[in-house]
């Protein structure tokens, strides 16, 4: 019987080694050690043996069965490995083909710069104040100390809706409305759209965007104004940037100044953009005139404040080196596309 089992094992080994697929292997498994296999048939004869013989014979049968099982396991692993390698081979692809195309649009560059300015001032503790585009003369001119006969009040300069209603010419209107509503401490910027009766060209647009800042509190000094502007300029254009003040006149600030910043193009060395001066004009600034505060019911002896205004359009064209304002409002997709991911 032992010889017979050996023969079965040898036959099984040859068959198993030749198996080409898992399916074929499973068939061999049932053929050699399945319920109806020869090995099992031999096993069934155990009952007819005497109790003394049974253990020895049983052991022989089990050894044969285990040998076949081991062969099958080994082969099964081989076949699985081959299948795996084949899957790897089949799944090879040209990774050069484009990935799923997810097309972003873009924010308008003015919005990008607008947000950047807002975020810089928010990080410095400012609030964002918003107001009306359509304003009355009081908030746009009177409250800001503008004389009755000041040329900026002309129809040639300002768009009017009615005699005393107009399109705001600066967002200082929001400063006035804020001071009417709140007592100090006040620390705001007011970004927004402003209007002046200018014919559109490379440096003018009848509608444009401005951000103004207003800080009113105890002990606010000229130093705070300079520091705030300097910090903003460095955060906006880079830590190497500087700002300087030139004395000027604005009706609602005293002292008043115009702000220059280092030329964003040459960094101050002098180039065509800054006309070799190394400086670019960026806006106006000053300490809030005590008259303006008093008129609004804020004690100008106790409180002081500063204000400044900057042009968002101008900052945008400087930042991106855009030649003139006109293209900003053409809304050409080929232009807008350049600002994808820049927000």
């Amino acid at each position: 019987m032992e010889t017979k089992l050996n023969q079965i094992v040898i036959a099984a080994e040859t068959a198993i080694k030749g198996a080409q697929s898992i399916h074929e292997l499973m068939n061999l498994k049932s053929e050699y050690i399945g319920k109806k296999s020869e090995v099992m048939n031999v096993m069934k004869t155990l009952g007819s043996l005497s109790p003394e013989e049974r253990p020895a014979v049983g052991k022989i049968i089990n050894i044969a069965k285990q040998k076949i099982e081991a062969l099958i396991d080994e082969k099964e692993n081989d076949l699985k490995e081959k299948e795996y390698l084949k899957t790897l081979q089949d799944s090879k692809l040209d990774m050069g083909m484009p990935g799923y195309a997810i097309q972003y649009g873009s924010l308008h560059p003015l919005t990008i710069v607008w947000r950047e300015i807002e975020d810089i001032f928010i990080s410095m503790g400012f609030d964002i104040a918003e107001g009306y585009d359509i304003e009355d003369e009081f908030h746009n001119f009177d409250a800001l100390n503008t004389p009755e006969d000041h040329p900026s009040r002309n129809l040639a300069d300002t768009f009017y809706i009615k005699d005393d209603v107009l399109l705001r010419t600066q967002t200082s209107t929001v400063q006035i409305r804020t001071m009417e509503k709140y007592q100090p401490p006040i620390k705001i910027i007011s970004p927004g759209r402003c209007y002046r009766n200018d014919r559109p060209d490379a440096s003018h647009s009848p509608a444009f965007h401005q951000v103004e800042a207003l800080v009113v509190d105890e002990n606010i000094t000229f130093q705070d104004l300079r520091d705030t502007l300097n910090t903003f300029v460095k955060k906006m254009f880079g830590s190497h940037m500087k700002s300087r003040f030139r004395p000027h006149f604005f009706p609602f600030t005293e002292p008043s100044a115009e702000i220059d910043i280092s030329c964003v193009n040459c960094g101050g060395k002098g180039c065509a953009i800054c006309k070799n001066s190394g400086w670019l004009e960026m806006g106006g600034a000053g300490m809030v005139d005590p008259n303006v505060l008093n008129k609004l019911g804020i004690d100008a002896e106790k409180y002081s404040g500063f204000a400044f205004g900057l042009g968002i359009d101008r900052i945008t064209i400087l930042k991106y080196n855009i030649p003139g304002l006109r293209i900003l409002y053409e809304n050409d997709i080929r232009f807008l596309k350049q600002f994808t991911f820049n927000n």
Partner: protein, 793 residues
């Protein structure tokens, strides 16, 4: 650390409620972690008298007492050997709860008993359980024991920060409170001894760096016994178990001053000399915790001529401790190096009240005070006579002077206090004003405040005692930003950019001619535009009331410049005439779409813009607010194609429209391709915003079930209604119905369509059986059949 309110009153005339005191402690830096009312039980134990006592007929050790509690006389069986007729005793009536036991009416060996005569241990007063508590004869019968014994107390568990070793004693805490509350501090009176007559007890400090001062006092002829009640009560309140009068006194003084002491039985100090030295390597030390420690030579020990008798500052020895037989003692008051104590304590894993205090740092000066205090108490309580003394203090510490500038206090704290107030706070803490110049107060720092070395430390003390929360707030900056609107505008912009839209910015001026191009009715709200008095031309003569004409012009411009696929949006202001002087300004979000939805791709084919893409974008924008209760319904917007125009409605208010531009209108704007658009009233949406915010809801624990149904239905019926009807069948279980297929074609009769819906069922409390779900689905089908005459596929 535990602070007994009653004990505290020994040093301070203080009468705050428990809550008030708790706050005073916590807000001056002594955090109260828990408050315990000690012995509430004593409110329910009454003083009674044993009127009569006789022996129990069936027991040798029990007696039967007739007890009068001021109210009635009851029979009580008592097992105490010391109970006698005529005694005033502490009586627990039937129904009183002592610990976990409720006193019940009971029978002991056949005799009725109606209550219990208590021992000290049962009352939680002491560990004594040898007999009942016998009160003085003047004790008033019928009064609660708490009124008579005066041991009701409140104990505060406080956390002392590691920089404040001085607060590890009652006096330290009392002193801190006295400075805060401006109360006088009553220190214990110390007797002055004439030490010149006394012999010198030999002490040798081998390690002066590790033991900076050692005071030994020898008292001979003491009687070691139980401590008086008041000491025991203090120790128990402080969390220390009373042992005998000598040990209890050293512990009492430790708790009082926060400076540990130790007493040795003089007869076991061999050679009659105390040596403070490093341990010898391999030396064995039997400690009071009944462990024997093998020393490695790094430990500092107190030794006699032969053996170590204490691990310095950590634990005493079993070979020299005070026992009932002790007659002569050596009392130690010393000061050890904190790091040395910390190292030994953690190496040996021995943590004692003593090591806890020494490792935080004790004062050389206070060592002298506690020595004297302990001698006083021992002589008074235990008897005996002070016979020998010694005080080895090799390197007395220098005085520390710190200068405080009142101007600096003001500058740093925004707090202007008069110099007298500053001085009062600091002298209250034990600092001594030694010089007062203009803006310079010089203070001598007491030895127990090693943490005060700089001006800033004094400033901290001042604000700590004055109260951090007493500093007035600056005027608050107003919240001016309209955050909701501000950030939602950004969110809408960002979302549309993420979906491939380009943002445009058009000037705010417009041309009234556009209203006719858009076929707006005469009474259309958009015709109420604000006119400019001095416009630059007709094309810019009004303020725009819709953003769509500008966007259409942008589309034309871009199409003419070669862009086939156009997705543009603008989020900006529009203006209307109104009764207000300045008119009405609103934000609107508008877009136009033409061409393909997305870029071409070899694998992911793109579609052309269509109504449902547009609808998806609109719904997503509304979800950003979020705006959840809106309806989308067909409408007649004059410039959108009939049947392809929809409006967004909340309640009865239209907050936006979208659709496909009518061919004829597009032609008028000279745009020849299909083009879609939407305009949403952003300002109005903000009003309908769901402001609830996100609140977590439990994740369903039960598996949800999803079923599909497909049927043929007349084109007349809107899927919106069908979905609502299905949910209505069981709104608790049916969470979602999603149309996932729709088609018409040859197989389907004209005027009909095939619809497939996915129904999501989420069980709430129990899993649903297949039968139940099938029943539910059948109900749904029946309902749809009867209402819409559907035919199942």
């Amino acid at each position: 650390m535990r602070i007994s309110y009653k004990w505290l009153k020994e040093y301070l005339d203080i009468d705050l409620s428990v809550e008030e005191l708790k706050d005073k402690l916590t807000f001056s830096g002594i955090e109260v972690e828990a408050v315990h009312q000690s012995n509430e039980l004593l409110d329910y134990i009454f003083i009674a008298e044993i009127k009569e006592k006789r022996n129990h007929p069936n027991s040798d050790h029990l007696s039967i007492c007739q007890v009068f509690d001021g109210n009635e006389t009851v029979q009580v069986v008592c097992g105490a050997p010391n109970c006698e007729q005529g005694q005033k005793i502490a009586f627990a009536r039937v129904g009183t709860q002592i610990g976990d036991i409720v006193i019940k009416r009971t029978k002991l060996r056949g005799e009725e008993s109606y209550g219990m005569i208590c021992s000290e241990r049962e009352l939680g007063i002491s560990e004594n359980h040898e007999g009942i508590l016998v009160l003085d004869n003047d004790a008033p019968i019928g009064k609660p024991l708490s009124r008579y014994l005066d041991i009701a107390d409140t104990v505060f568990d406080v956390e002392i920060t590691p920089n404040r070793a001085d607060l590890l004693g009652m006096i330290g805490v009392a002193r801190d409170l006295s400075a805060q509350l401006d109360l006088d501090m009553q220190y214990p009176l110390l007797k002055d001894y004439n030490r010149s007559d006394l012999g010198k007890y030999p002490v040798e400090i081998v390690e002066p760096e590790l033991c900076t001062r050692y005071i030994a006092n020898v008292i001979e002829g003491v009687t070691v016994t139980e401590s008086p009640e008041w000491i025991k009560q203090c120790l128990i309140a402080g969390g220390i178990k009373p042992i005998n009068n000598i040990v209890d006194i050293t512990n009492y003084v430790t708790l009082e001053y926060g400076h540990p002491l130790h007493a040795f039985d003089k007869s076991f100090v061999e050679g009659g000399k105390i040596i403070i030295r490093k341990a010898h390597k391999g030396e064995k030390f039997p400690a009071l915790d009944h462990n024997t420690y093998e020393l490695n030579g790094n430990e500092l020990v107190i030794a006699d001529s032969v053996k170590p008798i204490a691990l310095a500052g950590v634990i005493g020895g079993l070979n020299s401790h005070i026992q009932n037989s002790t007659v002569d003692i050596v009392l130690e008051a010393a000061c050890f190096n904190p790091s040395q104590i910390r190292r030994t304590s953690s190496e040996k894993k021995i943590f004692t009240d003593s090591s806890y205090r020494f490792e935080r740092g004790c004062s050389d000066k206070v060592a002298e005070t506690v020595a004297q205090r302990a001698v006083d108490l021992i002589l008074t309580i235990c008897g005996g006579k002070l016979t020998q003394t010694n005080d080895i203090y090799p390197n007395p510490l220098d005085e520390i002077i710190v200068i405080l500038r009142p101007s600096r206090v003001t500058k740093l704290l925004t707090l202007s206090l008069a110099n007298s107030e500053l001085i009062s706070y600091l002298t209250g803490l034990g600092l001594e004003l030694v010089k007062e110049d203009n803006d310079a107060l010089s203070f001598k720092i007491p030895s127990w405040r090693k943490d005060l070395t700089r001006e800033i430390d004094l400033i901290e003390e001042i604000i700590r005692l004055h109260g951090y929360n007493s500093i007035e707030s600056k005027p608050e900056k107003h919240e001016i930003t309209n955050k909701t609107s501000f950030y939602l505008r950004r969110k809408v912009q960002d979302f549309l950019v993420s979906q491939g839209f380009y943002e445009v910015l058009n000037l705010s001026f417009s041309d009234p001619a556009y209203f006719d191009l858009l076929s707006l009715q005469e009474d259309d709200y958009r015709r109420a535009a604000i006119e400019i008095m001095n416009p630059q031309g007709q094309a810019s003569s009004i303020m725009r009331s819709t953003l769509l004409p500008g966007l259409l012009k942008n589309a034309v411009y871009n199409y003419n410049h070669g862009q086939e696929n156009i997705k543009l949006f603008e989020l900006n202001k529009v203006f209307f005439k109104s009764e207000k002087k300045l008119g009405t300004e609103k934000w609107v979000a508008s877009a136009i779409l033409s061409g393909n939805i997305g870029p071409i791709h070899w694998k992911n084919k793109t579609e052309s813009v269509n109504f449902f893409y547009l609808k998806g974008i609109v719904e997503s924008v509304l979800a950003l607010f979020p705006l959840n209760k809106f309806q989308i319904e067909p409408c007649t917007e004059p410039f959108y194609q009939e049947n392809l125009a929809a409006q967004i409605v909340v309640g009865k208010k239209v907050i936006g429209t979208f659709g496909k531009f009518d061919k004829k209108i597009a032609d008028k704007f000279e745009f020849e391709k299909d083009i879609y658009g939407f305009e949403i009233d952003f300002t109005q949406c903000l009003e309908y915003q769901n402001k609830k915010g996100i609140i977590f809801t439990e994740i369903p624990k039960l598996q949800s079930v999803s079923r599909d149904i497909s049927f043929i239905i007349s084109k007349e019926h809107s899927v919106q209604k069908i979905v609502a009807d299905i949910i209505q069948c069981n709104p608790k279980l049916i969470k979602e119905v999603i149309p996932f297929d729709e088609f018409t074609g040859k197989q389907i009769q004209s005027g009909f369509r095939s619809l497939s819906l996915n129904i999501l069922i989420v069980p709430e409390t129990k899993s649903l059986t297949d039968d139940y779900i099938n029943g539910l689905i059948n109900n749904i089908i029946d309902k749809l059949k009867s209402k819409y005459h559907i035919e199942m596929r």
